[in-house]
Symmetry: C2
Subunit: 218 residues, 2 copies
């Protein structure tokens, strides 16, 4: 059985993403889509980077089940809103638009959308974001760009997290970088540890410059 | 937009899985579906456990792209066949049936099917396997059973890999076990390290007993 819905579905999603882009602009929000496998450290990155940013930040958490991450962020004073996909493998633009009906970030907010932990399906569903960051943990291995190329295409930044684990895992940074460079010649690669804080200041600085630039471009 | 294909699709997949089950029986093969997130150590587990098994083993590798894992296993003398899903997020029963047209494991073989790295979509597509193992790396965090409950439902064994990293990551074994126990009361949980080899003998012993039992049951 082949289901011939691929093209229509993606065209439809692209329209919804464009609608979100207009919605974000109306609301004065800059949206960031944070993509990674389960357990790469997406919530830890948000938790450790948000205090370094000058912007007001709000977070949308996408998970198939539970509100573990939202509860944690809210307990730390970071505004977070949970989307449960009820087993679904990715966020869709319409879910984000719906969340923004009941959750009103103030103008000037950087909206960080933590997507569902998934290196495949999330790649195919744009959310209308202006910034797309893809994160890998060093403990996941240096072969991820070769096995999951689609997710790295069009990333504005690639983050290698858990570099504190490098001495304990067989991670070849050169192989990883070679894989990323083959997919995105110019994309910046940040090596960070959400545990030790290493590299987060550089990432936060890049992110602020990127958001400032987007504001200037309107 | 809602696409009302869910029920039909899953019924269709269940039929294809049942057809695979008959095919495996005809060929005298026992099939194992190995499920995990990207980078959990599926290929390392196969590489380190196969030499401990008395059975002849063949491997099907499912990946969205590349033949990295198949090349590695073949170079180690483990018979492996690559299925590239071309970006697809899970293996399907029909892909396995097709692979078995060009790849003929001898009767008595344990066929290990390494599914695509994905904790969500793979859960919904049975392959006709008799044994279903779900693996998590300690570096992925102890919250996986809470966030990705579907994949753990119906597992015959849960494997916690990378226990050598426990001293360096915040992993609460009790919380992980509590999460697994809430989903599968009796499922055995094996703590292993594919790096140090710890726990692999116990896992191999359990697996042999399970395969023996399946053979007896016919």
């Amino acid at each position: 059985m082949e289901i011939e819905i691929g093209r229509d579905l993606f065209a439809h999603e692209a329209e919804l993403a464009a609608a979100n882009r207009r919605l974000f602009k109306e609301k004065g929000i800059t949206a960031l889509n944070l993509l990674a496998a389960p357990g790469a450290g997406k919530t830890s990155l948000i938790r450790k980077t948000v205090p370094l940013l000058k912007y007001s930040v709000a977070v949308i958490e996408g998970d198939p089940a539970s509100s573990v991450d939202t509860d944690l962020l809210n307990s730390l004073g970071i505004t977070a809103f949970q989307i449960n996909t009820e087993g679904g493998c990715h966020l869709e633009a319409s879910m984000v638009a719906k969340a923004l009906e009941s959750f009103q970030p103030k103008p000037g907010t950087l909206l960080i959308i933590e997507n569902v932990g998934n290196l495949i399906c999330t790649a195919a569903f744009p959310l209308g974001e202006s910034i797309r960051m893809v994160m890998v943990g060093a403990s996941e291995g240096d072969d991820k760009p070769f096995k999951y190329p689609d997710i790295f295409q069009g990333a504005d930044a690639v983050i290698l997290n858990k570099i504190d684990l490098k001495p304990y895992v067989d991670f070849d940074s050169e192989r990883f970088r070679r894989g990323i460079r083959a997919l995105g010649d110019q994309v910046p690669i940040f090596e960070v540890s959400c545990k030790t804080g290493e590299g987060l200041a550089e990432l936060a600085e890049w992110l602020e410059q990127r958001v400032d630039q987007l504001w200037k471009e309107g």
